[in-house]
Amino acid sequence: MIDMDLDTIAAFSTPPGESGLAVLRISGPLAASICDRLFVASSSRFKKPSAMEGYTLAHGYWGSIDEVVLACFRAPYSYTGEDVYEISCHGGQAIRQAVLDSVLAAGARAAGPGEFSRRAFFNGKMDLTAAEAVMDMIGAQAEKQAQVAYRQLTGGVSRVIHERTDHLYGALARLEMLLDWDEEEERPEDRELLVHELEHSEHELRLLADSFAGGRIIREGLAVVIAGSPNVGKSSILNALSGRDRAIVSNIPGTTRDTVEIDLTLNGYLVHLTDTAGLAIDSQDPIEREGIMRAENALRAADLVLWVLSPPLPPEDERLQEETRIERCLEEGKELLLILGKDDLRPTLPAEEDPAYYAAERFPDLPTLTWSDRSEDDLHRLKEILVRFIEGGILSFTEETLSVTSHEQVKSHGEGHSHGMLTHARHKVAVDRAVELVGRARADLQAGLSFDLVAISLKEALTELSTITGEDVSETLIEKIFSRFCIGK
């Protein structure tokens, strides 16, 4: 269903990929109220978003996600002719995703290609010449979109959706069969069976929704941050992975004062690698302090943190502070791999200075990997771990992930996993909504509501999912009814 002006749309108007800043545009009747809910002004000088006048700015915080600047363009004096708010946030992909998710969760819909321009046109903000240009643009995108849709239909996402929704179709087909063909009155076992089937579907769909995190990584890239105390060899890891001397490596602590970011591909997967300034705790150097702050920001946006511990271990007080930082990362739900660096030095060390002992004692649950700068085997193992991590879909290390032999080639583990994932925020929103609707149908059944009402929620759930697969729900349903039930007197 295409809504023209009832709903509110949102999308980044800056291109995807790492950048300093990104601008998220929200357009439509809900734009102001969404901003009211999520924007906290930094000072009372700023009005709340719904009270802002056209062409004004406000500075503040977007939920607990990021520090942002909010720009307001009041209808009709905006690009689309509707109320438009633009959020300028930091450009890290995790931040971007979190900001977008929050806006979608607050009631906006992910905008389709060319949709802002289309609204602009409908609202008389563009003349015919401009409109023709937009037409071409949308045409081109639609063609691309159509190809993508076709690919998805013939495999990938739609197959997964079908696998996971087969039960739902089964349950609805049973319900529809009872409604359209069974002349008997309702039997208690009909209801019990349906509740049972819906519980199963709900579970399957929830699993599908949960696969989104992994799917997003495939689409947008894995954000890996290398962190640790100064001079533990962080930059050497970045250089080894990228295969070139991108970061300056020296043995003077604090050489990396700014974050160093680099994109690389591993087996075709995009990895955003960030090397941080060493997290010296009480540096007085203002440049170094700025670097540390950036490191902290990078950590917040990371999917995976490689925390490097190398001999000699820092003094006790610094070690404690470092532990606090690691714990904070874990509390924030970050995945963490401890890298025990300078492995070649370890045999000469007493146990109390050996990071392996230290790690085993303080963080026995965290996975570890030993590392020495010139070891090809170590590099292979690290790459292997990253690839498996991406393909695993779920952001956790399993036994299997780490049971790599160092001589194994870095190889992809087939496409089985990546097909099991949702990769688009729009798909995720649809599946989430389907989960909610199936839950409602189940609750309605348990509350004794009549079958026709239960069917409404179920059909709506399948309609949501059909926005991904593009199939005609009612036709599919009728196929299912006839293939499963012997119909007709």
Partner: protein, 642 residues
């Protein structure tokens, strides 16, 4: 294909009649079409092959059922005939799905078959502007060249010419029909009636895409020979209700009879017999080429497709007040008579059944309905309308609904008015026609509630609220019916209003009433309106707490209760309808050149050029047109209109 002028120039040419509108075929589609057109003031000629078998019910002798029952009420709300006539000849009434929710409650009634036919003949004969003529129509008179053609009339088998600018074809299952029983294949229509030959060739000559569909019917058995005591009894509902809003709340209305149906089951022996003889089934031996309906499989089909089912039910249904014939629903088959008779021995209670009519399959010619406009007029042939099974539908009700719409639209066309199009949110009639015309069908199409997107709105109780304003505007509802309708709506609104004002205080009485109903006692003063929303309560139960209540007609009580109880869900559906209507109202001009719209995918260009949808909404339902294509169309249209 001759034009009228050409036909007239032939030797011995004779123009036997002239009218505004010609209807060919007096089945359920043709009768409704002719009645609607005549009642709207047009002179109508209605042709039938034999006046003794019009409005026949050659298969199951009942009217209504899931989705179909709702549609009979819709036909009545628009001013059609089927509901009224069914009310007069029903011999068993049942409300199907009474416990499954208001959206799917569907009335169904067994008919006194010959009574219904006689009744329809009387109605037709008493219509002043309608002439019934027994003639087989074998040709069409069409002027103009391909692309811009116009109907001028029809040619009878006798050579006589009949002239009209609007022609509605409703040949049902008679077009080039053949009846198949085992290896016996005969050219015949249903019930041994003659098939319609010639008209099919005329359609092909017009370039209309045709195909063959198949359907079938079970045998009929003498009541005295069937052991009904061995069977499960299925009684009529005690509180029969009429289909027609005209008879609603009329205490003097009663069904003609309240007969029972009987249920028995096939056995393992049935399955064994049919499996052993599957090579003799024309369905599997290749004799039958037509596509059969999945929803109404023959017994051998059920056994092949559902091998895990050890038995299938069989309903024995009365077929009239003047006959002992019983219809054996569930035993439809095209097996040879020998196997049919052997099969009876395997069904408990039917071991000695006297077969009065054998079961048979029938194959007939029909037209791909995607050549139609939503008005049921053929695209590119002015004045030619198709209605009923010729459009690939099945069922008496589906046929009647199409006939009614075609009849109305033929008249509107002559008057230069916009066609009447019921949309998918307004009625099952809209769902039916849109499905046929927009999506097409690969099997005989049967209406089901699951085909409707807005099922909760398309209820049997509110068919009048949905469609009577349209019927009145069209001109088929009498002033008296209209005033009664308005009064009913006033009563419903007034009672809802009153219930929202009456408050019930917590008292011993209220505690007892609620507890008796399995509901929780009141915590504070509550509006009756809100109490009615509790699933375990109903309007009747609350009477003791509502002393001011006036006695209201049952239909009003029913509507009030449903509207209040399902308020939340109804609002949800109405919101969805609103979104649906926006696209439905974006019209696509007929002169659009889809080939030139950049951004449309190739498949979409082809489908759109071929189908020529009337709105963006309709375009979105054509298979092969993606949401991305619709986006492109939307932008293109804005440009067009700008």
């Amino acid at each position: 294909m001759l034009s009228l002028a050409e036909a007239r120039n032939k030797e011995n040419a004779f123009v036997a009649g002239e009218a505004d509108i010609i209807v060919v075929g007096a089945g359920h589609a043709g009768c409704e079409a002719a009645l609607a057109a005549a009642r709207l003031g047009r002179r109508v000629l209605l042709f039938t092959m034999t006046l003794d078998s019009l409005a026949n019910l050659p298969c199951n002798p009942n009217i209504g059922g899931t989705a179909k029952g709702q549609m009979v009420r819709e036909i009545d709300a628009l001013g059609g005939e089927m509901g009224r006539l069914a009310d007069r000849h029903m011999i068993q009434y049942r409300m199907l799905n009474a416990t499954k929710g208001p959206a799917v409650m569907s009335p169904r009634a067994q008919m006194d078959r010959t009574g219904y036919q006689r009744g329809m003949k009387e109605v037709l004969e008493s219509e002043p502007l309608l002439s019934l003529i027994q003639q087989e129509i074998t040709g069409l008179l069409v002027a103009g060249v391909k692309g811009k053609r116009k109907m001028e009339g029809v040619v009878a088998a006798t050579g006589s010419l009949y002239v009209a600018s609007e022609v509605i074809l409703c040949p049902g299952t008679f077009l080039d029909a053949r009846v198949i029983i085992g290896d016996s294949v005969r050219s015949s229509g249903p019930d041994q009636l003659a098939p319609a030959c010639g008209l099919g060739d005329a359609l092909t000559a017009l370039g209309l895409p045709t195909r063959r569909f198949k359907t079938g019917t079970p045998g009929r058995f003498h009541r005295r020979s069937v052991d009904l005591d061995q069977m499960e009894l299925q009684a009529a509902d005690r509180d029969a209700r009429p289909f027609s809003f005209e008879h609603e709340d009329d205490p003097s209305w009663r069904p003609a009879a309240e007969l029972a149906c009987y249920i028995t089951w096939t056995t393992d022996a049935t399955k064994q017999l049919l499996s052993d003889n599957m090579d003799r089934s024309p369905l599997y031996s290749g004799v039958i080429e037509g596509v059969g309906p999945r929803y109404c499989p023959s017994i051998e089909d059920k056994i092949v497709k559902f091998p895990s089912h050890s038995r299938h039910h069989v309903f024995l249904e009365p077929t009239g007040l003047d006959t002992q014939e019983m219809y054996a629903s569930g035993l439809s088959t095209s097996m040879p008579e020998e196997i049919q008779r052997a099969m009876l021995k395997t069904v408990p209670g039917m071991e000695n059944a006297e077969m009065m009519r054998p079961a048979y399959a029938i194959e007939y010619l029909c037209v791909d309905p995607t050549v139609l406009e939503l008005s049921l007029e053929v695209k590119g042939i002015e004045g030619l309308f198709l209605a009923g099974q010729i459009n690939g539908s099945s069922g008496y009700e589906e046929a009647a609904a199409q006939g009614l719409i075609a009849g109305i639209n033929a008249v509107r066309k002559q008057r230069g008015e916009e066609p009447l199009i019921i949309d998918r949110s307004e009625g099952y009639i809209g769902v039916l026609i849109d499905d046929l015309v927009t999506k097409g069908t690969n099997e005989p199409y049967r209406l089901m509630t699951s085909r409707a997107e807005y099922r909760l709105l398309l209820r049997q109780d509110n068919a009048d609220a949905r469609l009577s304003p349209i019927g009145y505007e069209v001109g088929l509802l009498s002033e008296e019916r209209w005033q009664r309708f308005l009064e009913k709506q006033r009563m419903i609104d007034g009672e809802k209003e009153r219930l929202s004002e009456v408050r019930v205080r917590k008292s011993k009485l209220s505690d007892r009433i609620l507890q008796d109903a399995g509901s929780t006692p009141l915590k504070s003063t509550t509006r009756l309106y809100d109490l009615l929303k509790r699933p375990e309560l109903n309007y009747e139960m609350l009477a003791p707490l509502d002393p001011e209540r006036q006695e209201l007609p049952p239909s009003v009580q029913e509507s009030v209760e449903i509207q209040i109880r399902y308020e939340g869900y109804l609002r949800m559906e109405r919101d969805r309808v609103e979104r649906f209507k926006k696209l439905e109202h974006k019209r696509l001009p007929s002169e659009i050149d889809y080939e030139r719209i950049r951004g449309l995918r190739l498949e979409a260009r082809q489908k759109l050029s071929e189908r020529r949808p009337q709105s963006i909404g309709q375009a979105s339902r054509i298979s092969g047109v993606s949401p991305a294509d619709i986006q492109v169309l939307l932008v293109y249209m804005e440009q067009w209109n700008g």
